[in-house]
């Protein structure tokens, strides 16, 4: 792999994780706010709120998998 190609792969891997992280963050902003609102009224919503808030994190895992494939398979 020549240096330019290696650089492009590294940039691609970075974008895969970075953009997925931004997307997850956008999704989590409303869910997190709602979870905190519900918990402020009733502490019993802590478990459910936490679970709902981390669901968009799965997108970041997909991004990470793509990044790892880019870095170690290509």
């Amino acid at each position: 792999m020549d240096p330019t190609q290696a650089g492009m792969v590294a940039v691609g891997a970075g974008l895969a994780v970075g953009l997925a992280g931004i997307g997850a963050g956008l999704g989590e902003q409303a869910i997190g706010a709602a979870a905190v609102g519900a918990m402020a009224e009733d502490e019993k919503f802590f478990g459910k709120g936490l679970l709902m808030t981390v669901i968009p994190e799965s997108i970041v895992i997909f991004g990470l998998v793509v990044a790892l494939i880019l870095l170690f398979v290509f």
Partner: protein
Amino acid sequence: MGASDGAKYAYIVARVRAMKGKLIPRDMYPKFLNMEIPEITRFIGESEYKNDVDELGKKYRGTDLFEHALNQNLALTYRKLIDVSQNEANFLITEYLRSFDIWNIKTVLRGKFSGASEEEILEDVISAGQLRYRDLTEIVKIGTIEGVIAAFAKTPYYPALEGYKGVLADVENSLDKLYYSNLIKAASASGNKLFLKFLRTEIDLKNLKILFRMKRAGMERDEIIKMLIPGGMELKENDLGRLSAMSFSEFVRALEEFSYWKAISDISAELGSLIHIETRLDKYGLVYASSISYYYPLSILPVLDYILSKKIEVDNLRIIVRGKETNLPEDIIKAHLVM
């Protein structure tokens, strides 16, 4: 609605949904009807009203305690909504809750008009709007209606009050109109179409109640027109003019063309009874608020739905206890409940 639009309402909506879950379930009201007042007070004292009952228990007893606890809880709950909301939601909630300022001004004026004591007037004050309880406590000390009106000179409600010429109904009517016209302006300024839709439906229901009352009392068209509030959703100004001119039976038949008819159609045989009609219209408002709040979950509507549901809960509890206190038959109390 963009993601950020949704996000700005997520916190307050989740909070009011959780608060709505703590309201007294509908199936409790028939049970209350079978309980005695001390039992109901005990139940309420162990519910969301606990702090209010405990706090006021030193000062009041029996139904007075009940009444004060309900009023205080309502005021604190609404004030909490203002405190925990931000930006557009905060602005719209604050504007909407100005209805309690109107209520309080009317209460003070009516109290002064009928010569009620300061204590009696303050019993019915619900300080959920922008007028603070301590300010109202000072205003109540003023002896004359003119003095009371002058005390409101620096408030936005003064334009409706300054025209007082000895007839309280005119001032009350002007206050209602001022409230709704300001609210429509606020809704239009914020660009929140859902709020405007809710508001205009509320105006329609209010106009229908006025029309039923006035028609039953046999008032003339011009008198009725003066009382009606412009800006409704289905009942436009020409409809209001047309309905005002009809006889009671024609008026009832003409209502069939509006969607509100389905709220009262099954009690058309009892349309002479204002209690049934008003309860049905209130219920229509409640069901409407609840259903549109599910269509638009991340908007101001769930908050308005909660505000309405809480108000109806307090009204229902008050009706049950006051009805039981005066030994009203169960079916009459039940007819007044919005369930």
